[in-house]
Every structure is written in C-alpha cells, then in structure tokens.
C-alpha cells in the first residue's frame, strides 16, 4: 500500500508477471503429469511382467509339488552297493551293525513293533522286501525316544526293535542304506523314510512283510 510509484510495476509488467506465473504453473503441471506417466508405465510394466512370471510358475508347478525320492539327499546316510541276497541257513556275519542288507534266511519276519531283539537273518529279508528297520540300543535311549521312533515307523513295511551294543543310540536301516541318529526329530530320519521306504533300491519292494514268522516280543 505504501509502496512508492517508482517501485510499483506498470500494468504491462503486472500482466507479464501473471502470464509468466501461469506458464510456470502449466510447466510444473506438465512435469508432474510426465513423471506420473513414467511412473505409471513403469509400474504397469513391472506388474505385467510379474503377472506373467506368476502365471508361468503356477502353470508349470500346477499345484503339484514334486519331490522325486531319487533327488533327496539324506544327511549322514551310509550306503552299500553290490550286497549279496542269497537265502542261507544259520547265522550270517554282516558287514555292518545293525545289518542293512546281505544274505538272509529263507523266511522273512512279520513287520511290526518288537520289544525284544529279533533275528538279523529274518529281519534282513524284510529289508529285501522294501521295509525300513528302526533299531534302538536300550542302554542309550529313553522310553520317550522309543515311543518317538515307533511313531516314525510307517504302519506297514517297517520293523521297530531293540538292538544291543550299537555305536549309536538309534539306527534306521533299509536295503543298502543306513542312518545313525540320536534324535528322532532329526529331519534326516524323516528324509530317510521318504527316500528308502519301499524303495526300488531294494531287490523286491512290495513282496510280503506279513505271513512270515513272528520274532520274539511282537506287540503290534
């Protein structure tokens, strides 16, 4: 209000200033629009690519998880190739304790849970038929561990039995494969069952694990 005439801009100057302000505002607006468009296109492209990738993944996997047992690596497993599988009478001197395959008795042992040590030669015949055999050393395990091992055993094609004098509290064995463990919750134990239970690594998977002989102390 109190500005001097000298400082007061002319009408023309005022008009110019207003026009420049408008031009500047328009440019700002255009810049914002341009930026938004770039952001929008980028986001849409990324989202589109992600959607394609998701669809491809979905269709390829098609909701069916695939875990070929051949691809499972069981941490700590020991394996043997070229085991013999003759039917013999009398005791066999196995190369590993407990035995994980080799020559065996002509009659197999009925699969199930045993509370007494069972004859190696009959149990090994079960391994030939695709069973897994859980053994625990009674001197090295608790009742809870025995119960946990029994729970791990599949309802068919498995034997659970005590085995004295092992160098590990527990073992799980299949034909030509064996895992020592001291904790039934060790994921390697579950991996072992997935990979070796009724495995085609055994010479006769699916041959009977019933209708043979009972070992001592069969409870189920």
């Amino acid at each position: 209000m109190a500005s001097s005439d000298k400082n007061k801009p002319s009408v023309k100057q005022q008009r110019d200033a207003r026009r420049q302000e408008k031009v500047a505002a328009l440019k700002r607006q255009q810049a914002v629009q341009k930026r938004n468009r770039i952001v929008g296109i980028s986001v849409a492209s990324v989202a589109g690519a992600a959607a394609v990738a998701l669809l491809v993944t979905f269709v390829v996997t098609s909701g069916q998880p695939r875990q070929d047992p051949d691809d499972i690596t069981v941490a700590g497993v020991q394996t043997w190739d070229d085991l013999t599988a003759n039917h013999v009478t009398g005791a066999v001197d196995y190369e590993m304790t407990p035995p994980a395959g080799g020559d065996h008795a002509g009659v197999w042992m009925n699969c199930g849970v045993y509370t007494e040590q069972v004859p190696n030669e009959n149990a090994v015949h079960d391994l030939e038929h695709g069973a897994v055999w859980f053994t625990y050393d009674p001197a090295q395990v608790t009742d809870d561990q025995i119960a946990a091992v029994t729970d791990l055993a599949p309802s068919t094609y498995s034997v659970v039995s005590p085995y004295e004098g092992m160098d590990s509290p527990m073992y799980v064995s299949a034909w030509g494969a064996q895992l020592a463990f001291d904790d039934p919750a060790d994921p390697a134990v579950a991996d072992f069952v997935t990979k070796y239970w009724k495995s085609s690594n055994a010479p006769e998977p699916g041959a009977a694990c019933t209708g043979g002989v009972d070992g001592p102390g069969k409870v189920s």
Partner: protein
C-alpha cells in the same frame, strides 16, 4: 475470481478428457490382461514337462499309497485262509483275491515310481479323500459309497485325515482269523473280506469322483466291478455256512 472461472471451465474439459482416458485405460487393461493370461498359460504349458503327471500330494498319489496298504491286507487275509481251510470255494476266491490284489498293488507301486513321487506318504492316510470332488460337491456322510456300493453316486468325504481306511480289519480281528480254523475261520474270513471289499469300493468311488487320470479311473472302475462280484459270491458262501 478469474482463476476460479478458469478452473471451472478447465474441470469441464478435464472431465471429458478423463472420461475418454478411463475408457482407453479400461480397454488397454482388458487387452493387457488377456495377453498376459494367454502368454502365461502358453509359456507355462510349453515349458512344463509333458505330460503333466500326478504330484506328491495329488489325490491319485494318495489313492495309490493308501490302496496299496488296503490291498496288502487283503492278500494277507487271503493267504491266511488258504492255510486254514480245505473248502474249495473259499480257497479259490482267496487265491483269486491274493493274486489279483498283489498285481494291483504292484500297478499302483509302479505308478508312483513313474510319477517320480515317493512311496512314503507325505500326508496322513485318507487325506486325499477329504479333497474336493471334480464336480466341486462334497456330498453328505449319508451318501457315502459304502452304503450304496457300485451305484456311481458321488462318495462323500466322510473322513478326516489320519483316519483308518474303510474296511480294514483291526489287528485283533487279524489275530482272531489267524487263531481260527475250518468253518469258523471261513466265516470270519468271508465276513472280514466282504467288509474289506466294501471299504475298497468306497475308496475307489472316492477316487473316481476326484480324478480324471485315465489309468487311475480305469483301474478304479475295474476294482469296483470285480470286488462287487466278489462280494456277491462271498455272501453266497457265507449263506451256505449259516
């Protein structure tokens, strides 16, 4: 004031402009979605290993694992009665059941091998029977296959994961069979095997309602037909021993 007026006229133009832009956006969006869908499915189909086979947690794998266990018990029962009976009719059907179901268990074993999945179940038994049916219906417990075997109705998921399979003999019943002899053993065998077959048919109907895999469907249809005829024959054998 002038700016306000400018804004008013501007917003009218902007409304028209944004309306047109919206249409364009929607069209572009729909087109993009269609392209993405077609491209995704095409690339997925082409790059996936063909043919697409049942996976680890498929109903087909669940059926193949559970039915092997089911069949193995039938074989055990059939072999047990052949050791305990001199009757030709029972010994013959037991031979038929033992050899047929051993062979079928082997078929299911081989499917799992070919599909590249483990023989060991990744889920509790019977989980596959709780999965939705192909027609999306679950049905009622009352319509369970066992009640109306062989009639082709949609069997119900009247089970929960981890349940014992229908028709399986209990360990006590198996002990009883092994301890029995002669006609008593025959009656027990026939009774247990009729129930066993009914349970098997219920499971076969459950997979028919859930799978369109040709091998599995043919297998289940055959199972239903032969086990139903076995049941009829065994009922007559049981009647003769009443």
């Amino acid at each position: 004031m002038t700016e306000g007026d400018d804004g008013a006229t501007g917003s009218g133009g902007a409304a028209r402009a944004s309306g047109a832009r919206l249409v364009r956006l929607v069209v572009a969006g729909v087109l993009a979605l269609a392209i993405v869908l077609v491209a995704g499915v095409a690339i997925g189909r082409l790059s996936s290993p063909t043919p697409v086979v049942p996976g680890d947690r498929s109903v087909e794998a669940g059926f193949s694992r559970d039915m092997q266990v089911h069949h193995e018990q039938a074989v055990e029962m059939a072999m047990a009665i052949r050791d305990r009976s001199d009757a030709d009719d029972v010994r013959t059907i037991a031979y038929d059941i033992a050899t047929a179901q051993s062979q079928q268990a082997g078929q299911m074993y081989a499917w799992l091998e070919v599909w590249g999945v483990a023989q060991a179940p990744s889920e509790p038994t019977m989980t596959w029977m709780t999965r939705p049916t192909l027609d999306g219906s679950y049905g009622d417990h009352e319509h369970a296959g066992a009640a109306t075997p062989g009639d082709g109705t949609t069997p119900a998921p009247s089970h929960t994961p981890g349940d014992p399979m229908p028709g399986l003999a209990t360990p006590a019943q198996m002990d009883e069979l092994r301890a029995a002899d002669g006609v008593e053993a025959e009656r027990l065998f026939l009774t247990l095997m009729i129930a066993h077959h009914r349970g098997g048919i219920e499971m076969a109907e459950a997979i028919l309602a859930r799978s369109d895999d040709r091998q599995v469907v043919d297998f289940a249809r055959g199972m239903i037909a032969t086990q139903q005829s076995d049941i009829d024959a065994m009922q007559q054998m049981l009647a003769r021993r009443a």
